[in-house]
Point group: C2
Chain length 383, copies 2
């Protein structure tokens, strides 16, 4: 490939999904590391922890009791970042006053959920089979559906759930929210304060920065390319090039994107144009579960550790224009911090925060390593 | 103040300098923390460490010897992220090909310097007096001046340095670079691998994302407000409001900006319109040194620890249009991760990376706490 030279020279790559650039310095990995070491993760957790606020049957922060759940369980976050009800606020005075231009604030309401992935305290997504991950995807779909605007074209396609409701705390909101962010912080290095396998869902009246930036780019591409999807075209291109693929099945492609910032960043992209979870049929949901299983197991195998990451799903807004909803293309990001080993991470700090993200290995090198560490979970026989 | 209610409700604030929003959830600090604890910093370092590659007289990674320097010392980074010379690269084929649109790369050349702030291994900027910080500012100015485009209107105002050149490695570059990023990563939590007080300077052919985004906003404001400076107006507004001020002297204002993301983020803004380091006279440089001393000492006093942060200077590009140079407004950002104590930090992870930055205490609360911890460095009498 003519781009082989990019393994050796400093260059910038363009991220068409955000419309931003990053700096790639492939030779930099040769630099010795004498800085902070992460604590290696412990794999000796009990299956049930009486002090864990997520284990079945235990008491939570505000006194509620968890049921004896069997797969997933959902509740409203006891320390929600946004709430359904709060005091009213409206900025005073003329919106063109200097003070209102330079000190601008808008109120935000919304709802925050926690979702457990398994009743077992000592498992992670990497330990689960696609069939065991499927209920997580079904529950995400239930929650997304419950919050979807009745006016959205997606409301028409969403079918009644095939599983029992994960919890009676999933209820139609008081107000119509604009965006639902499904995400997971895994591992202490990514700010996770409880190892019990779980994710979060924050739903807000406003469209946050990241999805808003992606949506602008997706709409622009669609307008300029006869209604085609940027991520659909990108997935096809990656399937031809075969340089950044980690895994694929019928419905999903897993790549280290051309524009990855984090050392082993990956993206799960639906090959066909899917706008949101509700567009996936049962077979596609199982394919998505398999893609998640493949990513998380390969991560753990790479440095033989419980690999930390933050992950999140980008899909159609709960409420939006038809153009916004049609331009949305279902995908999931994984941002893992480790660079060289279970204890040496990449820091996105001074230059990255003040100037521009910078990475040390190429996405092609990262993809090759993740391709090579499929197979059984390394700790399967250690248990 | 009518905004008092913002201490209690979730809201978004707008950052006019970047044109982006962030989420503020002030009630969230009530949440208990059971996650990762940072290692408390050791204050028992030796004044000279024979194994440190920054101490005077020691050998560096590639075999060079450091001189017996007395204040600052500058050398070209032994593991530079960008280099002055590298193999040529140009993307092949039609720029409108899908492959060139979705897999876009540009080569980058440049020069990376390391600058020590003191010969003493066990000091930090917080330990230095304004007069001891002054040579650091003079050296930054020397390096900036040496790389300034001869065509820039700033080249005319830049005066010969009043101090001896910090090093003979500061040389006019082979190519005209576009941007110089001066920054510091302090502390293991911010990816710093050597406690010897030092910063970095990365200079590149391209204008990186952050300064490019700020420059767009600064130019826009200038056009729409009769040539006035966004940050000049903002500084005046903060001096009237008095709610977010941490410290000020004749030339500089230190505030927790209205739109701060990091818990104790601060910004040093020049009160008058200064475009770059070369616009500061000797008195203003000393005022700038005092502002840096005040910020770093207050940080250390806040949790009685050597406070980690990344800091960086934004000023006029080395080469640019007259409009870009006139719109630039000299300022310095400090992004510190600690939230509640010397060991509990804020993690900008899942929601922040996938959706939008989120903060837990208001900038007004942060400013009040930093205002209250001036005075002597807490460890002054412990030594
Ligand atoms: O150059 P250093 O200090 O070794 O490295 C540090 O700063 C760089 C610039 O912000 C980052 O890219 C690195 O991840 C960080 O560890
Ligand atoms: O809600 P948690 O898991 O307690 O908190 C974690 O995730 C949040 C959302 O990304 C972050 O704002 C917090 O800094 C992080 O510690």
């Amino acid at each position: 490939m003519p781009e082989k030279i990019l393994d050796d020279i400093s260059h910038r790559r363009y991220n068409p999904l955000r419309g931003t650039w990053l700096l790639v310095s492939p030779h930099r990995t040769k630099r010795p590391w004498q800085g902070q070491q992460e604590a290696a993760s412990k794999i000796t957790l009990p299956e049930y922890d009486p002090s864990c606020y997520l284990c079945p049957g235990n008491k939570r922060a505000q006194g509620d009791l968890n049921p004896q759940y069997k797969s997933t369980f959902v509740f409203v976050n006891d320390y929600s970042a946004v709430k359904e009800e709060q005091a009213e606020y409206k900025q005073q005075g003329d919106p063109n006053d200097l003070s209102n231009l330079l000190l601008r604030a808008d109120p935000v309401t919304g709802k925050c959920y926690v979702i457990t992935f398994s009743p077992s305290h000592n498992l992670t997504l990497a330990d689960l089979t696609p069939n065991e991950i499927l209920p997580v995807i079904q529950t995400w779909t239930q929650i997304y559906t419950a919050h979807l605007s009745p006016k959205s074209p997606l409301a028409a396609v969403s079918k009644p759930s095939t599983i029992a409701p994960a919890s009676n705390s999933i209820s139609a909101p008081n107000a119509q929210y604009r965006w639902m962010q499904i995400f997971e912080n895994k591992g202490a290095a990514m700010g996770c304060s409880n190892p019990h396998p779980h994710g979060q869902i924050w739903t807000t009246t406003g469209l946050p920065e990241e999805p808003s930036q992606e949506l602008e780019q997706l709409k622009k591409y669609r307008r300029e390319h006869n209604g085609k999807s940027l991520l659909g075209d990108y997935a096809k291109l990656e399937m031809e090039k075969k340089e950044r693929i980690v895994f694929q099945n019928t419905s999903f492609l897993v790549v280290c994107p051309w524009w990855a910032i984090w050392p082993f960043e990956v993206m799960i992209i639906s090959k066909e144009h899917k706008r949101a979870l509700v567009d996936l049929d049962d077979g596609e949901k199982l394919d998505f579960a398999e893609a998640i299983a493949e990513v998380t197991r390969r991560y753990d195998n790479l440095f033989e550790t419980s690999f930390p990451y933050s992950s999140g799903i980008h899909q159609a807004p709960l409420e939006g224009t038809d153009e916004e909803i049609e331009a949305s293309h279902f995908h999931m990001h994984f941002y893992p911090p480790l660079l060289r080993s279970a204890t040496v991470r990449k820091f996105l700090v001074g230059y990255e925060l003040m100037a521009e993200p910078q990475r040390d290995i190429t996405p092609e090198q990262a993809a090759a390593r993740l391709r090579d560490c499929g197979g059984e979970l390394y700790r399967k026989h250690l248990k």
